[in-house]
Subunit: 419 residues, 2 copies
């Protein structure tokens, strides 16, 4: 728990002060639909560039595969890329994911109905990245023969891994940090996630776990009548008074998220400064309602959450009511292969054992070039953050190993292309 608390504090500090990373902002005209010829629309994708360390005569490109959020936030919080760019003489690029930050395909209308929101898929996002890199290789003098290394964390880590699998001619290797590419139906049991969250807290105090486990029934008991609801509203200083059981349910869902996020140390959405909280939740949900269907369930015994089975039908109904879209839970495994990734090459999957998402991560060496790095004291993609005097040794070692693989990929690309 010590490292976890430290990481939470560090993340909080970063939010207030940030690092003064410098970049130039550009936009690239992308097709809204890369795979069909029905919709000819295009949109402007934002990307950030820093070339201070770049050797434009063969230096590599470090490409951050943007995930669900404003890309400037990821640029500020992915210190690992900035830390190691000088020794690799690398160009740094951060590409924003479509439908996030300012890269909205249909502006304010982007989330209003399926004909605008329906292009929010990982397949389209990867094609954006491939198009962007293909363009930059031509547009930037010296980039033609640069090896491209992709980086990403969490959903961005999934994108980085899948990017290498689907576009190995575009990206020569990927660092996929805390990438739960196995967190899909029939691949990873839905109860594992909550068990790791619970275990994180149990490391600190088994009493704490019991308090949380009992809290659900306590909330129910207290809020059984109006008096109790008023009391809890006051006691917890809730912004809006509890009036119905639905309100109570929302509070419990919020608490579930708080415990989970504390274990993950991922505050992307809670800390996103430019968007209203409601808009953020909506965005997250829109993404989740297409292909990123990641089953979660809790039994309240092996974990400390309120018991709740995985109910795809209820989930799908909610999606349709909110977004007029039926999710496709088998889409991502069908397209990307689930755990059958033996044909892939040049990917590092890193996972912190404190991170509940590690239950959906690749935790074994798939082959000589698709490897798993375990960081016992790590939470959610700690290795992508800037190095810090308080880093546990395991994350220092992980970063050294990652750099070794990056070097290997660059060298092998150079020798293949006789550069």
């Amino acid at each position: 728990m010590k490292w976890l608390v430290l990481q939470v504090i560090l993340a909080s500090l970063l939010l207030h002060f940030g690092y003064a990373y410098k970049y130039e902002t550009y936009f690239y005209k992308q097709k809204v639909d890369h795979f069909s010829f029905v919709d000819p629309d295009s949109y402007s994708q934002r990307y950030l560039i820093n070339d201070e360390s770049w050797d434009s005569d063969g230096g590599p490109i470090f490409f951050y595969a943007g995930n669900e959020g404003d890309i400037t936030w990821f640029a500020e919080n992915t210190g690992f890329m900035w830390d190691i760019a000088p020794e690799f003489n690398a160009l740094i690029i951060f590409a924003e994911h479509r439908y996030y930050g300012v890269s909205l395909p249909y502006g304010n209308k982007s989330f209003t109905e399926p004909k605008y929101s329906g292009y929010l898929t990982s397949e389209q996002a990867l094609a954006d990245f491939a198009e962007l890199i293909s363009y930059l290789r031509i547009a930037l003098p010296g980039a033609k023969n640069s090896a491209v290394i992709a980086f990403g964390g969490s959903y961005g880590g999934m994108l980085a891994a899948w990017f290498r699998m689907k576009y190995p001619h575009v990206v020569q290797g990927s660092i996929a940090a805390s990438a739960p590419i196995l967190q899909f139906i029939d691949i990873t049991p839905c109860e594992k996630f909550g068990q790791v969250v619970t275990a994180d807290f149990a490391r600190e105090s088994s009493q704490c776990v019991e308090v949380i486990r009992n809290s659900w029934a306590a909330i129910d008991a207290v809020t059984a009548d109006e008096v109790g609801m008023n009391w809890l509203t006051g006691a917890w200083k809730l912004c809006q008074p509890l009036k119905t059981q639905k309100d109570v349910q929302k509070v419990k869902e919020y608490l579930t998220d708080v415990w989970t996020n504390l274990a993950m140390v991922v505050c992307t959405h809670l800390t996103e400064p430019t968007l209203e909280p409601k808009a953020l939740l909506e965005e997250l949900f829109a993404g989740a309602c297409t292909e990123m269907v990641m089953p979660m369930c809790y039994d309240g015994v092996k974990d400390f959450f309120e018991p709740s089975p995985w109910d795809f039908k209820a989930y799908a109904t909610k999606c349709y009511e909110s977004w007029n879209i039926y999710p496709r839970p088998l889409m991502a495994p069908m397209i990307y292969g689930g755990k059958d990734i033996s044909a892939a090459s040049n990917i590092v999957f890193s996972n912190g054992l404190l991170d509940p998402w590690s239950t959906g991560g690749v935790m074994w060496n798939v082959s000589d070039s698709v490897v798993s790095i375990i960081i016992p004291e790590g939470a959610h993609h700690l290795d992508l953050r800037s190095s810090n005097p308080d880093d546990p040794q395991s994350v220092i070692d992980a970063r050294i190993l990652e750099k070794k693989y990056i070097s290997t990929w660059i060298e092998s690309y150079k020798s293949e292309n006789e550069i």
Copy 2:
């Protein structure tokens, strides 16, 4: 030229008599758009199955990646799969390509406007194949652990190769016969194709080449006035009288196709029994107007065609006028990698040297498992046809080698999955 003539005769005979291959016909409900959530429509894809040779306890699946035409025609003309299925105890599946045969996503409206025709892309077709196989693995008792080997010729060969590259978790290896995956802008010079057509004829008679080369100017001279046009109409027994220079141009384009097809021995569209010729040409064009932009040019010196530069602008304008669609010439190379396929595995690229499409084929061994087989006396995917007493030794050898690779892929899949 001897083999070429023989192959033409054989192909013609097949058209009249065919082989009595038996199969059952099924339909699978496919999403019209696999990559976005805008269009929730689905359509029925036709596929054919033969399980006479199948060992349902681990026998492999031989999967034909349907290309531009009625799938029953490909089933009749891909004897290689039928010939070798018994010794592999293989299940045979032929899947029809969307927008061909009876697999029309929007019935009679399928080609009327982009909102219907715009889903005719190779990316969507490959996702159809992946979905179908994923379904059959569950639906067919015993298919769960079957290795899948993809076969395809010409555009179908391109699909087979790309299928393995993009979905290595679905297909364990591919026989890609006469697959011009390099026949794209900036990868293969546009003049090569016509030169091979010309060389095929030159093998037989250099005089013949001269006659054809001079024919274009002769046609122009004769049709300079109405008298000449009428004369040629009668002499060539044209169905419709020549009246304008545009009519003359069409005759020349027809002749260009005849010489090319004779060299290719591919009569798919001329021989397709169920569709009107006009419909066929329209279909072909619709496909070509999206992503399959394969530059061709002729100089009339190194080849015997009427000189004609590659003019993308004119090509694109014509596409837009006909189909309201602007082609994307860089789409396929961007998605599939052009000649940068070093990360691929388990693909045999076979090419006949008589085949003009070999100029866009993979004619070198990319790696230990991505190999090229050259058939000096072969025309367009001769190796996929049924074995025949008149086969040249080179195609007999090619088929033996292909079988060897298929065995290797199946064995390695079995040992990886401990079957």
